[in-house]
């Protein structure tokens, strides 16, 4: 299918770079048995975009630099979107828990948390911009 978004990271189900959604729930595709997926709906990062453009999570990741090398990013986006489907207003702890199975070596996770929070607020209809200290550092 030529979809490049789903990545090979560890072959062991430890890093989360191969995350896809199966019927809306995050699954490590490297450990998934193809026969068990028959007839089920699989969403890769390519499925997050719509005709309207980027998913709010994607927009927030772009704004905050939450994707550095970008290799782990599809996995984080899918795990985050599954979280926001069930929990539209997650606490920081809920985000930390939901993303605990995804490794990122570039960002230190903080910009990812902030992007998830920003996207969640916008998806709830709030008109919010990134905080000054997120973009420019503390004064």
């Amino acid at each position: 299918m030529g979809l490049t978004g789903t990545k090979h990271g560890c072959e062991l189900g430890e890093c989360g770079t191969c995350t896809v959604l199966v019927d809306g729930r995050p699954v490590l595709s490297c450990l998934a048995v193809p026969a068990a997926l028959e007839g089920r709906e699989i969403t890769t990062v390519e499925g997050l975009e719509s005709a309207l453009g980027l998913h709010p999570l994607q927009t927030a990741f772009v704004e905050l630099g939450a994707a550095q090398c970008g290799y782990c990013t599809p996995g984080f986006l899918l795990a985050s979107s599954a979280l926001l489907e069930e929990t539209p207003d997650p606490t920081r702890e809920e985000i930390v828990d939901a993303l605990g199975g995804n490794l990122c070596r570039c960002t230190g996770y903080l910009k990812i948390y902030e992007a998830v929070e920003l996207a969640a607020a916008r998806m709830r209809g709030e008109d919010v911009q990134p905080a000054e200290e997120t973009l420019y550092g503390e004064a």
Binding site: Y71, L135, A139
Partner: protein
């Protein structure tokens, strides 16, 4: 797809700048969040074959015979290679050409590649590898520095500075013994910093296509396409002009993709032999064997302090466990001794360092290359000195800072120096004075500092050419294309090029095309290492853009019959600032210029300034600018389990100027994360068979911080533009890692009163130290001592304040030895004004 709207400019961005200083998205961010960035393993060519490599199961052995006949006859196998097919050695440094693409006569660690197969698919290639029979004559493995120095053990290589000693160096700047004699306190410590690895999320991958015209293209996940280009030409015996190396976007590098690698050469040769494209993607286990990560370093340090905390002299020794090959090791060795002098003045300094060969995956450069280990030692050592002298560790550092625009004992030329401002920021923000020594048992704060180069002053192979080049093309449609050899490894270097050019030409950075890291299309940039890219390619881009701007201005000045000084380029337009009604679009301005001058293209290049050091070894450490950082860590230590949790980190980084603050903060936060991992959990350790079998070459067992271990971070960017940086910018990708391990270890001492003089600080080490404390023994865990070694005679270099001219005193060209020039008025011991 709509491009993201840039947020409004912050009131904190500088002066009249329109792009620089703004928190803009990276130019490739949308590709990354949509999964469309094409990493090396995403590439596919028609008739492509797949390669796998057979790796040694022995840590140290002579290769008696390799029988590939069974593999060659397997259906689906197109070619099989062994060491004799690629007999020319190579290596990143000219002085350490000690690797073969496939082991030639000997294997030197478990994982060393012996043979390679190209086949119709990966499974067939893997099966064919298993059908290759290798006969080894086992040699005793060398597992440690102690083993290496033991003359009874076999030699791993037949070159270097002694039996299994790859490099041994000794340098003395001034009379250290006399300095120590003047001290009120002489402190002696030993430290150990365990090795660890980069662990980029993307495995190394490469795709080679040897075309019918006899030219080779290699796409590869590398940080240094220029050095891969040179290695391929050497080993394949093909002129460099027939080879094109394209670095694909790196899915993380951190230094781990900075060497030319065996698999890159192997797929090129397999493509030459089969006439078909050949791809390889390493497994995670193989990435652990590629390694080139943080050297395990044992360190000994003896420093004299006056009562006020000033340093009177320092003697530092480092012992690096290099693993099986040279890699960057000679530079790594020098780096462990180079930057001890650029933070606090050291009036007399002696450095001795050695790197041993052992039968383990080769170590090399990881984020901070050779400097996090000695920085850990120095910052913990200084914390102990402050305690002994009854001084506040923050104030003691503030009272003794290397001044800006000065030269250190070992001839590092410091330009802008914002460490004082960094310390003040984190002390105030963390509430240091209310916390240090005052938190309840089990909680504590620690402070540490660091400094790092903004690019190495000298190239890896000696030459007088620029370190970075940029070509700029303006077309009559208004398009601007930047060509540069630099490699984006996720740090945002492609975006930096676009921002710099956009600032000068007054165009939208998201309208600029950036073509990078392609040895046929782009001028050389030496690579993404040593935190050099923003400063060096940024300066080259700045020069090219200013030259292009000048062409536009000249053409418009003539067309409008006004002086060029009245012409401004901004917001995608050119205008007369005194008559704003007279303006045209940028595209129209390019048409005017092209009509006058012909095709509009400019070049820019950058070469670092010469360093004042002229002694052997002076090539490692000099930089156009040093970044500085200070951090306070707050920790909670559970005395029952020994477990340390980092609750919060305050970090201030002296960046000169942030070209893009949100990208810079991302580098700071990522550095803190990686430093936290090194401080508490990450380690490349070995087991079995005399301790040379990798203990955990998988992501299941190699521990790295997940979201659950990550702490809250408060980042402060200290901006004091450095004259050598583009718009004043200095590095940010590596320096912020340096203060983190020592800040955490100093905080553990503040929390529970024990010193753990080695990282990672595992719960077991804390418990051991706590048990010793309870028994009334020295409350410490760490190395007991250092091995015996006959250091070479030191190269003696008089410091600048003793009349030195940067040369060794036995150099016949040395002038001024014996204090002819004397000290410079107003200078601080340990540095003189530049």
């Amino acid at each position: 797809m709509a491009k993201p709207e840039p947020p409004a400019a912050s009131t904190r961005s500088g002066g009249n700048l329109r792009v620089v200083g703004r928190a803009l998205p990276k130019i490739d961010a949308v590709s990354k969040v949509t999964g469309r960035t094409r990493f090396a393993d995403d590439l596919f060519l028609p008739r492509m074959l797949h390669s796998r490599m057979l790796r040694s199961t022995s840590p140290h052995a002579e290769i008696r015979a390799v029988d590939t006949s069974r593999a060659e006859s397997m259906p689906g196998v197109a070619a099989v290679l062994t060491g004799k097919d690629l007999p020319i050695p190579y290596g990143i440094l000219p002085v350490s050409q000690d690797e073969h693409a496939l082991c030639f006569d000997k294997v030197r660690f478990i994982g060393d590649p012996v043979a390679a197969v190209a086949a119709v698919d990966e499974e067939t290639a893997e099966e064919a590898c298993r059908a290759i029979d290798v006969e080894y004559a086992e040699l005793d493995p060398v597992a440690s520095i102690g083993d290496a120095l033991d003359a009874e053990d076999p030699e791993i290589h037949l070159y270097g500075d002694g039996h299994n000693v790859h490099k041994a160096v000794a340098l003395e700047f001034g009379d250290v013994e006399a300095g120590l004699a003047k001290a009120d306190l002489v402190l002696e410590d030993t430290f150990f910093y365990e090795g660890n690895t980069h662990l980029p999320m993307e495995q190394h991958a490469a795709l080679a296509e040897w075309r019918p015209d006899g030219k080779l293209t290699l796409w590869t996940s590398t940080q240094t396409p220029h050095y891969v280009h040179r290695a391929l030409a050497r080993v394949l015996e093909v002129p460099a002009s027939r080879i094109r190396v394209i670095a694909t976007p790196n899915g993380g590098g951190f230094g781990g993709k900075s060497d030319p690698f065996n698999h890159e050469i192997v797929v090129a040769e397999l493509s030459r032999r089969t006439g078909r494209p050949v791809k390889i993607c390493l497994t995670r286990e193989e990435v652990f064997y590629c390694h080139r990560g943080r050297h395990p370093v044992l360190m000994w340090m003896k420093t004299g302090f006056r009562k006020d905390g000033s340093i009177t002299g320092m003697h530092f020794r480092s012992y690096l466990d290099g693993g099986a090959y040279g890699s960057y090791g000679v530079a790594s060795t020098y780096y462990t001794g180079a930057l001890q002098t650029v933070t606090y003045p050291v009036p007399a300094y002696r450095f001795e360092g050695l790197r041993a060969f052992t039968n383990k995956p080769p170590c090399g450069p990881k984020r901070g290359h050779g400097t996090p280990q000695p920085r850990f030692a120095l910052e913990v050592h200084v914390d102990k000195a402050a305690e002994r002298l009854g001084l506040d560790p923050a104030q003691m550092r503030l009272d003794h800072l290397v001044p800006p625009d000065s030269v250190t004992a070992n001839y590092m030329k410091v330009g802008s120096m914002g460490l004082g401002a960094c310390i003040e920021k984190v002390v105030a923000a963390s509430g240091w004075h209310d916390k240090h020594g005052k938190l309840p048992e089990g909680r504590g704060v620690g402070l540490a500092c660091g400094s790092y180069i903004s690019g190495a002053g000298l190239p890896i192979y000696w030459n007088a050419m620029p370190h970075s080049g940029v070509q700029l093309k303006l077309d009559r449609g208004g398009g601007v294309t930047v060509f540069c050899g630099s490699t984006d490894i996720g740090q945002g270097s492609d975006s930096i090029l676009a921002y710099v050019v956009a600032e000068i030409l007054g165009v939208d950075p998201f309208e600029i095309d950036v073509v990078t890291a392609d040895t046929s299309l782009t001028p050389v940039d030496l690579g993404s290492y040593s935190s050099r890219v923003t400063l060096m390619s940024g300066n080259a881009a700045l020069q090219a853009a200013e030259r292009a701007r000048e062409l536009l201005v000249q053409a418009l000045a003539e067309a409008w019959q006004i002086p060029g000084s009245r012409i401004a380029l901004a917001e995608g337009r050119a205008m007369d600032v005194e008559d704003p009604d007279r303006s045209m679009s940028f595209a129209e301005a390019v048409v005017v210029a092209e009509a006058k001058f012909g095709t509009i293209g400019t070049v820019g290049s950058y070469t670092p300034p010469a360093s004042p050091g002229r002694y052997k070894g002076a090539g490692v450490g000099p930089s156009p600018a040093y970044s500085y950082a200070a951090a306070v860590a707050e920790v909670t230590v559970d005395p029952a389990t020994g477990e340390t949790r980092v609750d919060e980190v305050w970090i201030a980084h002296d960046i000169g100027r942030a070209i893009n603050p949100v990208v810079a903060i991302g580098q700071v936060e990522g550095s803190v994360y990686m430093g936290l991992g090194e401080a508490l959990m990450e380690e490349m350790t070995y087991r079995g068979n005399r301790n040379v079998v990798h203990r955990h070459p998988s992501l299941l067992e190699y521990k790295s911080p997940t979201t659950h271990e990550m702490c809250r971070i408060h980042t402060f960017l200290v901006e004091d533009p450095d004259p050598n940086g583009p718009f004043g910018a200095k590095e940010v990708g590596q320096g912020p890692l340096l203060p983190i391990p020592p800040a955490i270890v100093n905080a553990i001492h503040d929390a529970v009163g024990v010193r753990v003089d080695e990282v990672p600080v595992t719960p077991q080490k804390v418990l051991t130290a706590l048990k010793r404390k309870a028994k009334g023994e020295e409350p410490r865990e760490g190395p007991a001592g250092v091995p015996q070694f006959a250091w070479p005679e030191a190269v003696r270099v008089p410091p600048p304040w003793a009349g030195g001219d940067g040369r060794a005193s036995d150099d016949p060209r040395h002038v001024g030895a014996g204090g002819v020039r004397g000290s410079v008025p107003g200078s601080v011991p340990g540095s003189v004004p530049a």
